[in-house]
Amino acid sequence: MAIYSNQYDVIVVGAGHAGCEAALAGARLGLKTLVLTMNIEVVAAMSCNPAIGGLGKGHLVKEIDALGGEMGLNADATGIQFRQLNTRKGAAVQSSRCQSDKYLYALRMKSVLEKQENLFLKQQIVEGLLIKNDQVKGVKTNIGETFFSRCIIITTGTFMNGLLHVGTKSKSGGRAGEGTSGGISQCLTSLGIELGRFKTGTPPRLDGLTIDYSKCLEQPGDKNPTPFSFLTKTLPQPQVSCFITYTNTQTHEIIRKNLHKSPLYAGIIKSTGPRYCPSIEDKIVRFSNRERHQIFLEPMGLNTTEVYINGASTSLPVDVQIELLRSISGLENVEMTRTGYAVEYDYAKPTQLKPTLETKQVEGLYLAGQINGTSGYEEAAAQGLVAGINAALHCKGKEPFILDRSQAYIGVLIDDLITKGVEDPYRMMTSRAEYRLLLREGNADLRLTEKAREIGLIRDDRWNVFEKRKESLDELRKKIKETKISPSNENILKLEKIKTATPKKMISLEELLRRPEIGYENLSLFDVNICDGSVGKELEIDIKFKGYIEKQEESIQQFKKLESLRIPKDFIYSNIPGFSREVIEKLEKVKPASLGQASRISGVTPSAMTNLMIYLKKRSFEQRKLK
């Protein structure tokens, strides 16, 4: 029975943060895209904290935006508190973060999907994948419907065999109050895709009216909030505050006393949880000498009094949750609206993926988001975007779109996943990016927008904004290089005003800007007026840290050299003498595309790398000789 037209180019399974970006990218690249979701009421749901961005994650959002994705725009339109993080450190490690009205966020994203040409959104549960000769054909759903497509992108998050835990009780589900899907797990396994199992958790939600904020420290947003998107001019939502409080020894005592009731410590949960986002139980056990832990109270929206308690993720029984909450200053009389819980779920081991996020086993089958063992909305969205773009390019028969580690955090994210795999839910951090001095939030557009324009993802409005920004930066660069100032009386006065030494001879404004005490704003004294602060900042970083930046550029050259040494797809590692079985197994599992990728696989020894390098070079030399 075919009620609907059942022929599509791309089918996206799931409408979370990965699914939305994947579907939008596909549709915006002109492909007929179908999104199937279990529950059409919860598109782009913020299942955990009501926030976008954070250290390293803000970079991802900026990059998604620079590539024509939706997350940045959606966060700007629905954000209720914006803050720049790490402002006392250098620009490369500063990140943007915002609190979102989670309801507005989901609503707006749903409406963007609905309005998008070529995009079809339907509520149906996918129960089976149709695969023939290791090629995608389509999906079967719970209502007996069959949809055909050339590509399928699976973005089912924590919903594959999801199991929710509160205390020692557990129940199947991908998110509190929702079901789970076992069908896809089964399908993937039958296709030979290896699954693993992870755990993650979420804190309780509180009734804000029962919090005594006078005992907490107010944390307002930035006075001049900066948006995520390069397109956003104004932030429409009213800005609100978060609050900070702390756990205390009494809280820790309660947790310790009840540790045996925690599913993790009682041995019910055996899978690994996120190392960099531990539950409060974990924190007490792992940092037993700490007397207190910071807790952030974050509003969940403008039209709700519900509050998210960041830093207190727990799966202890309900009575213990209340007891520990009420031991915290400001929360003595708090009412809990929803309990915290842990969720265990299946993920697919990401070393089985190509850099396009297509599975190596099945042509046209892509996996993106938490299903690949990541955590976080931003990590999910970034993968969704890459999978969506590549599925579309695949349908069009075009070259894949791959970002490498020197180009974007997105490149780092995907390379880490497919090369190193995941030991625990993967979270982005700036330290993962070896070229982070060059991968700043502020230059995400300069790094990426042209590339996205080439594949057709950048609309004219965004392109115009980009070109203007780039032009003004280039102009400024030229201008401050060429403008020289002499130690004239007039200039001496100006320089004294900005508390910097008078140069003995003529110097360029570029040289002046290199001084630590000089900011781009000071250049206005010499008639260089920079009205766009974001452009001024970029200019300043380029000049001030030229030495470090140049060094990173040099090491990128080295990196590219290794990346350019390609390893043939059908390469047989056991042919190389001197490789241990362990090394061969690791290389054969990942099937690295280049020598550079091979070098990042853990357990591949330096001598094996040298051996491989010599073997490859010799091979390409002999092949050239044959020609």
Binding site: L55, K89, V93, P606, T610
Partner: protein, 462 residues
Amino acid sequence: MLFHLSQIHKTDDTICALATPIGVSALGIVRLSGSKALAIVENLTKLSQPLKSHEIIKTTIKNPKTKERVDEVCLSYFKNPKSYTGEDMIEIYAHGNPHILNDILHLCVQNGGRLAKPGEFSSRAFLNGKMDLTQAEAVSGLIHSKSSLTRKLAHKQLKGEFFGILKELKEALVQTLSHIEAHLDFETEGDVKEFSQDGFLLNKTENLQKKVEGLTTSYKQNQKLMQGLKVVFVGKPNVGKSSLFNAFLNEERAIVTEVPGTTRDVLYETVFFDQSEIEILDTAGVHKTEDVVEKQGIERTKKAINSADIIFVVVHAHEDFQKEDHEILTWLHDKKEHCVLLLNKADLGKRNTPQIFFQNSFYVSAKSGEGIDELKRFLKENYLEKEINDAEFIVTHQRHYEILEKTNEKIQSLKEGIQNKISLEYLACDVSEALHLLGEITGETTSEEVIQKIFSEFCIGK
């Protein structure tokens, strides 16, 4: 990419080479390494029983085509991976006749082997993960070592001691880096305390610097010793330099005549002294001359003085310092502590008393042999018997020294960065680069060009 492909060794064939020097000797060794080693040797020997690993057997090598006997030999077989290269290896111990050894090698090549390039056995050992680069370099160091000290150091390095030191340095750097990264990525979450201004990072950095500088200093201080000691004889004409030189060498090396100025050039000889190599230079006599050739000789003497580790200043024992002796002293001012006064011809009388200019002086006689043994003992005790305790390590390779110097620059830049309160992500760059550099020493981050260069310094057969 600039790259000499012709230099890349093939790694999947079987190599063979002579492991002992060419020339008549009691024994000569041919070694083979590679998957075909066993097959090749079995073809040449027609053994009735298969070879067992790590056993020595006696057999006959015959030319498989002509059935002609080549030699009676002993064989040992080392099955992979328990061999020097990590591949199947066979060593053939034959009689040390160059023709026999050549024939054996020739037969190995005819039956599927390939003549090895210098260092190819060791480079295979490295590629097969049998040793890291510092160990491979130690093997080369051991072969070329010039003193008991350098041998001892090469053994230490071969045992992996240097690798261990580098590992410690790297661990300290990694710790520093993770400290920095934790502050960059987690400070805002309140789980990491505000970066301490108590000098923790500076302390750690200074400790690191001390360690790295200790290593570079050890190289600089002991470099002379590594390369062998250089001793120079200087003195006015006919003072007996060449006779002393000869007495030292126990042979008539320099031409000795009564005509002043016979030695017009710098003569040198390398001798083994208590298992250490020293180079001894005899120089032209120093006096005012119009002779162009002799003038050049004097210039060369000055050069030799500058490059010397020890300068033996020869004067007559039976007469006071002459004008020419004093002139020589003016050249030696900068090298005062390296000078030893030799009062020669002590058999003719001992009028000249030792001067304050010299810390050490000896009455010697080339003719009677007086004082020569004493002088040799002095050399040995003061210059050749540098003892190192087991905890001490001396960097012996210039490559290591250069990388350590660069590492030190990064650590210095890190230190300055901390002092100038530069933001942490820039400091992290310095630490990462220092780590990368240390990896170059062990071969973890070394480019193939470096590896090729290292193994090209080996001799054939190793």
